[in-house]
Symmetry: C2
Subunit: 366 residues, 2 copies
């Protein structure tokens, strides 16, 4: 690889002059400038980003920690974060932890502060103490999709009001006239301090509160999904629908299990939305592309990604190296809240059939 020194020798100038030309700094005459650029081209020299970043005490990438790149939410978030990161010339190193704490820890140890000058965390299984340790050693960490703006995590974060998202889903079913519904809540969490309903506790609580406040309506059953996947939603929905065939709607705390619930309904001979309404949360691309298209509460994924990258850059630029991202040195860690989630009604929800219609439909299925 051609070095700066070789370019300087070829052009008959000092390395500092080459550097000045490449960065548009200092005063360099037009002829010298041209000679340097000619040498750069002739030798195929490319400024060594990593070396430059190291020389400046900066590394040129952000690390993006994701639970499972196979979950289509994360590629969508990655796309948005990448666009945001590129505006400051940063690349994203996508670190996929496969929901494993140890893998997450290994990535953090290897990457934070060496390859990457900041860490974006989108997943919930990482141990907060690990993240705080990374931050205290000088590499800012931002949690990208904190679900409870009313309960800050003690780390810099971008929060989305997922309790409201749950409430909007409940209101949608209430507005349609549903009074007996089931809830599929996913999934388990490794954090003791979170709700017993796991990483989706806020989504669950918001739904339950709003639905129960209606008085005449009732949540007949809540089932926990084994996994936050289509399969996890399928299994939980089957169990719930078998145990409680009288529900007219299912709420799932995420789109993938909601899609699984639609499959389960189909396999049990139930037509969505005629026999059963299904509503999810997130609005991933598949929600728009499923048949029927999924009614869901859209969360501002792109906005959250952009805000998280902006916050990370601020933490990097603002704080002195020694206290970067260290909550102890900067008071309360910053929390930014995105705009509110929005209910997007599609084809998977409709008013419940009357008892009469349901009986006929049920007879026809036998």
């Amino acid at each position: 690889m051609t070095t700066l020194n070789e370019v300087a020798a070829h052009a008959g100038v000092t390395p500092a002059t080459v550097s000045n030309v490449l960065r548009n700094r200092g005063r360099v005459g037009a002829a010298t400038r041209e000679r340097v650029l000619h040498a750069v081209k002739e030798l195929g020299y490319r400024p060594h980003l990593a070396a430059r970043a190291l020389a400046e005490g900066r590394a040129p990438t952000f690390a993006l920690m994701v639970s499972s790149i196979a979950n289509p939410f994360y590629p969508e978030f990655t796309l948005a974060a990448e666009r945001a990161a590129r505006t400051s010339g940063h690349f994203l190193i996508v670190c996929n932890t496969n929901d494993d704490q140890e893998t997450g820890r290994a990535y953090l140890e290897q990457i934070a502060g060496t390859l990457s000058e900041g860490v974006l965390v989108t997943n919930a299984e990482l141990v907060f103490d690990d993240l705080r340790a990374i931050a205290e050693r000088g590499t800012p960490v931002v949690l990208c999709m904190w679900e409870r703006p009313d309960d800050p995590p003690g780390l810099p974060c971008v929060a989305v009001d997922f309790r409201l998202a749950g409430a909007l889903a409940a209101q949608h079913l209430l507005d349609l006239g549903h009074t007996r519904v089931g809830a599929l809540v996913g999934s388990k969490s490794s954090h003791d301090d979170l709700s017993p309903f796991g990483i989706h506790g806020a989504r669950r609580d918001g739904f339950v509160e709003r639905f129960n406040a209606a008085g005449n309506a009732r949540i007949v059953a809540e089932f926990i999904c084994e996994a936050d996947t289509i399969r996890g939603g399928y299994d939980a929905a089957r169990q719930l629908l078998k145990a409680h065939p009288d529900v007219t709607a299912l709420y799932a705390t995420n789109d993938l299990p909601a899609l699984g619930a639609m499959h389960a309904a189909a396999d049990m001979g139930l037509s969505v939305p005629d026999d059963l309404s299904v509503v999810g949360i997130t609005d991933i691309q598949l929600a728009r592309e499923s048949r029927p298209a999924l009614s869901t509460v859209a969360v501002p994924t792109e906005e959250a990604a952009r805000m998280a990258v902006d916050l990370l850059r601020e933490l990097i630029d603002r704080a002195p190296r020694a206290s970067r991202g260290n909550p102890g040195n900067t008071g309360t860690p910053p929390m930014r809240v995105t705009s509110a989630p929005v209910m997007v009604p599609r084809a998977s929800t409709a008013p419940p059939r009357t008892q009469d219609q349901r009986t006929r439909s049920s007879l026809r299925r036998r």
Copy 2:
């Protein structure tokens, strides 16, 4: 960030000794060793991967170029490549080009040979001359899913026999008794030297050859998908089915358009597989999770990713720096071929109805 020199000063040894202890090199007494490790721990020193890699003339990442991280094939490939890369301590920088040549070129210019010591390319829209230029400057490039093992690309590659994949799909439909079918071919390509049927030319040719060889069978129509997406397949399928309502099966050169074809059929009142069989290629996770589950030709994605990472490592280790990955210096660029694709029959294909059944079904729909 703590430096090696600070650790050395703290332990009262030379930086070289610290380095030796951390790498298990040289001869260091037990007491000294313990003192160094104590200092490392106390100061929170972590070996600076990027700096070390630069010092050794190596960068610690591979770049993985993908067309569109939103296409679920790429996350699946990314997962497999990441697993393979991690076995040698490499991280994957995922570069998403959004099917744009210029973005791809920018990534290559910025990353190849600086941040990354090798480049894995999974997408077809990149300009081969750009890739060759990168390779000639000393950064090996491997094409990960070359579709035509009978026609090497002039760059190191891992090839999958996609012509055979197309043939297997044709044989599956023939075996079921289909004699009048349509083909959805995706999508356009920016390479002049590829087939007029774009990036999926081999998949198309394999299907057409095998199907036509059956004698009594006929491909009634071929439609090009605007995009290699569910939507692209949906639009093309609608057009094809409207123009040729007599086809009993559709072949799509990829799973996403095949899923779109199933949606189009549903919207036109056709039941899959009773009224229309649909078969795809790849076997992405969605193929297993769709309703009905998609019959498709599974390509060895994991194996291809593993082989591509292995080949990239070989190119990096084997060649002298100056000629790394340079086809001019090493003769014919290596091509590895994966094991053969395999037909996976699922619920989206069945024998065609008899004419009598079809007429009745058609009457019922009116």
